[in-house]
Amino acid sequence: MQKHDFLETIKRRVVLFDGGMGSMLIAAGLTQREIPEAWVLSKSEKIGEVHAAYLEAGAEIITTATFGASRLKLGASEAGKSLDAARVNEKGVEVARKALERSGKRERFVAGDIGPTGLFFPPVGALKADEARAAFREQAKALAAGGVDLFIIETMYDLREAVEALRAVKEVSNLPAVVTLTFDRKPRGFFTMMGDTTDKAVETLLKEGASVIGANCTLQSGDMIDLAEEFRFLTDAPLAFQPNAGRPVMEHGVAVYKQRPREFAADAVKIVAAGANAVGGCCGTTPEFIREVHATLIHGK
């Protein structure tokens, strides 16, 4: 098995991430009383089908359905309270690995997904650094035990929390860690919800040992091009970006992501041209988006 060559691959050529998981599961019947992490245990075949669809579409990195599987995040919801965090994480990796094996594809990777705790550091909330670190450590340990090829710490709205997650990963594993924050576009530039700037994020995450850095969620693909340029101006390090499929709009009371795969793919190529080493999709993206990005990256247009 190719276990450790993710970093070599991403330094050599552009790598394609997968797209959104949540909306795919909703389409498969996930109700508002359930969470994806519960399905990892109870309906793992549905999770496996999403992984398979992304692999078939050309994704080279599939992301485990463990975004919200830290003990702190699970503990905050009715649906997650009773779940064993370690088991969800291990099983999440097992499901992804199986989907990958079954696809028969080579040079593909399983990324162990770590999302925010949903809690906040002072002054906004009362989260403590060691508390966050401990929860992330437990999650990272289980993901490593399950056999991931790399970690992805994503959608972090507070640089401090991203750092805690990264330190936790590095305490339990030597595998590469991708760390992507979520930035919003303000009149004065790109900032996280906490006001972290791109230069502070780049400097801090690289100093803390992130292998790949970048951004995901919140922004649509057009804005992500500009953010990618800004990151590339700041560093030579490998970069990854995973925008949303536009901004959701309401149609007959249902939120719809209006951007079409072709338009998203055209922007993805521009994100690569701006300096990204990896692209993928976040909210609203589906295997169709990844298929289109794959085709466009290969054939141009």
Binding site: S77, G118, P123, V124, P187, G195, P248, M250, A255
Partner: protein
Amino acid sequence: MQAFLDGCAKSVLEGDADAAEKLAREALDKKYPPFEVIEMGFVKGIKEVGRLWEDGTLFLPELVMGAEAMKRAMAVLHPALAKSGARPKSLGHVVIGTIEGDIHDIGKTLVATMLSANGFEITDLGADVPVVKFVDEVEARGAGCIAVSALLTTTMSGQRRVVDELKKRSLKGKVKVMVGGAPCSDEWAREIGADGYAGDAVAAVSLAQSLMGSRD
């Protein structure tokens, strides 16, 4: 006096709760009219915080600290305000929460904090709040407004059910409903029959003021 009022505004703008509380006590010692100290001092500060937050100069931590400073000053001044006979500018009572099935707390809490900092009475029901509970609470407390947050496309339908529950109990119109959260919009508010949508905590204050202003 003007320098003192500017100091009050500055303490909120800088999110210095200790300074804000100290200034509020000093205002009482010096027998400054509490109404003026609030309106011309602290409120000016919180409005400036809101403005700078909206234009992306300040961020969540500064907003929260500004609101906290405001609350600390108000806690000191409020009793004196009531005693002074000046009509406290309590704009009304808002019952707020995140809809059932949704555990996103921060936006809702922020709106609650800003409403409270701007003189509304707040009952915060927390997150994952059943539809019926919103209306039960608003009835029990005689509140004039329900603020319902939904961060997920899968939970926002609950906002519609809150409006429907008010209709069922013949409270629609008497109790205003404001909605917020990432997937919401003006259009959504109109569609479900809510009285308004606010895109952020600062907008929520303006909306609540315009919805409830006519009640006094």
